[in-house]
Subunit: 201 residues, 2 copies
Amino acid sequence: MLKLYDFLPSGNCYKIRLLLTQLRIPFERVALNILNGETRTPEFLSKNSNGRVPILEIEPGKFLSESNAILFYLSEGTEFFPNDSWERSKVMQWLFFEQYSHESYIATSRFWISILGKAEDYRDALNQKREPGYAALTIMENHLTNHRFFVGERYTIADIGLFAYTHVADEGGFDLTKFPAILAWIERVKAQPQYISITQY
Amino acid sequence: MLKLYDFLPSGNCYKIRLLLTQLRIPFERVALNILNGETRTPEFLSKNSNGRVPILEIEPGKFLSESNAILFYLSEGTEFFPNDSWERSKVMQWLFFEQYSHESYIATSRFWISILGKAEDYRDALNQKREPGYAALTIMENHLTNHRFFVGERYTIADIGLFAYTHVADEGGFDLTKFPAILAWIERVKAQPQYISITQY
């Protein structure tokens, strides 16, 4: 059985939990608390030298890390990843956008404010993340103004990847009320079959 | 003909130039100077709302952005991207690692020091990028100690993605002499057929 090394509040981990659930693939969940250093132990580092969750254990001793690579692994050949070469590449474009231009601002702000609870300690760093975080949301808003989903007008892992931290962006201090197309898309994602919320499993 | 919007010193652009050359695919090169705001004009933003190069124009008006998504688009079905599902996903793992844990430290340091020439202005920010940049290099070094290439013991887009900024990491102030396995891998990449250097086209 697939084994997911998971930290419940993590959007990156949630991506995998959501897709596995929507694919109706059973999995064993290994809960780790990143706040206690549980992903920095020698044992965990032997599984992922980068010291991050999620990781997926495909079979004993065979590990895949990087949330969006795990989405790719699980979705190839399913309805959640396109068959068309151009659409496949556009899914990848949005997933790389997510990790570089979105997660590093929006997820990190949420981590400091709502998971560590240290908004004051990180005030300067949070301020630096405001403008690029809103820039990422604006790029999404502009795309979603004319599209129901990110690629091919249907729900794919590009939506799962971007949904994970966008729908809780308020927990990072980002005001989504200025982004009506994003808010409508969030409702479309929540209406997908087998949807679970970020702390469900 | 494929059209590559390109800034010559950019490692992200170099990835595409190198792969296109190794695939022997002819392309038209559109040179842009990001230092003059040429990727922030309304015309360019209509091609890529994220305002970054590289972008690849597949046919008139059809654009793909994110360097690693472009590598994926060009390499599927070729010797540079594996057929095996697990190996495909490991390539993706390393490419997401590159954008999240490597490029944002090593490439950004190189940009400030060697492209902008403003090491003094960015001294504090550069200091913050030292430890995570070396951590990324250490992860690569450990992997390459037991492997000739990143995935499947042969040259793939995972190597191209990681090579782009690693082989010029010294221009970002990173000392590669402590990483003999990386240095040996750099020589293996340079020995690949149709190799071109970062400013060649």
